[in-house]
């Protein structure tokens, strides 16, 4: 292999990045129903930032550079009975768009599967190449 990044590195690191994305989706879904006593402390959806990594021209994989809070705004709700309510009786629901998170989850799943498929094909071809001496 002339290139420092093999197909296994490329697909493997892409799978790791997709796992980080799946973890953020899980965090967001877990916190979708939480309430907070102020807008500033309310939960906002987490989103990973993907960036291309390239060691050699032509081949590149992907990494997660950071995980940022999205700008989905928490929704204010009047609920004076809630123990977390402020002096006006308002609470803030987490700023998570559940439908969008589920769509993100499916997309993550599909892209993970794509990388698994790439890895399987590469593995099979490598094994075939090794067996050529037989």
């Amino acid at each position: 292999m002339s290139s420092p990044l093999s197909v296994f590195d490329i697909a493997g690191r892409a799978m790791s990045a997709q796992i980080v994305r799946l973890n953020t989706v899980a965090s967001n879904m877990a916190n979708a129903g939480t309430v907070a006593g102020s807008e500033a402390t309310a939960y906002r959806a987490l989103k990973p930032v993907f960036q291309q990594v390239s060691d050699a021209p032509g081949v590149s994989t992907v990494k997660v550079t950071q995980v940022v809070q999205s700008n989905t705004q928490p929704t204010k709700r009047h609920d004076p009975d809630n123990p977390l309510a402020d002096k006006d009786g308002n609470v803030w629901d987490a700023g998570v768009d559940s439908a969008a998170e589920l769509v993100d989850m499916i997309e993550t799943q599909r892209q993970y599967q794509n990388n698994v498929q790439v890895m399987q094909t590469a593995k099979q071809l490598t094994l075939d190449t090794l067996r050529i001496e037989k």
Binding site: S3, L5, V7, Q18, F50, G58, S60, V62, Q111, V118
Partner: protein, 121 residues
């Protein structure tokens, strides 16, 4: 590494280019969700010509000289030009072609093995 490889002929070079193309297509699939990523591909025929022609250079140079950016069918908002169906079909096609090249190599190896062993059927 020119076309004068006595045992494997053009197929050894072809297999190397196929392998590098597989890495490049894997890169495209890995970056399917990266904003601003531009998908790239190798023009196999031109790369093979450059690697086996009259002024044949190294396989790596031949590949690097024949890399192009993919023109997307539909442009996306994030500036990413990876279209998964396109990349997947190209990857599958390249895998089949890799295997075909491998079969040619296998044929050469079998022939030489038979010649070495003699008629021991």
């Amino acid at each position: 590494m020119g076309s004068d490889d006595a045992l494997f002929g053009i197929h050894g070079t072809a297999l190397q280019i196929r392998s590098q193309r597989m890495s490049m297509l894997a890169s495209n699939i890995a970056n399917a969700a990266t904003p601003g990523f531009k998908a790239r591909d190798i023009d196999f025929n031109k790369a093979l010509d450059a690697a086996t022609g009259q002024q044949a250079g190294s396989v790596d140079d031949a590949v690097q000289g024949n890399v192009g950016y993919r023109v997307p069918v539909e442009s996306s908002l994030s500036g990413n030009t990876v279209e998964l169906p396109v990349e997947q079909t190209q990857f599958a096609e390249n895998a089949v072609q890799y295997k075909t090249t491998l079969q040619f190599l296998q044929g050469r190896v079998d022939t030489v093995m038979q010649a070495l062993k003699g008629d021991n059927t």
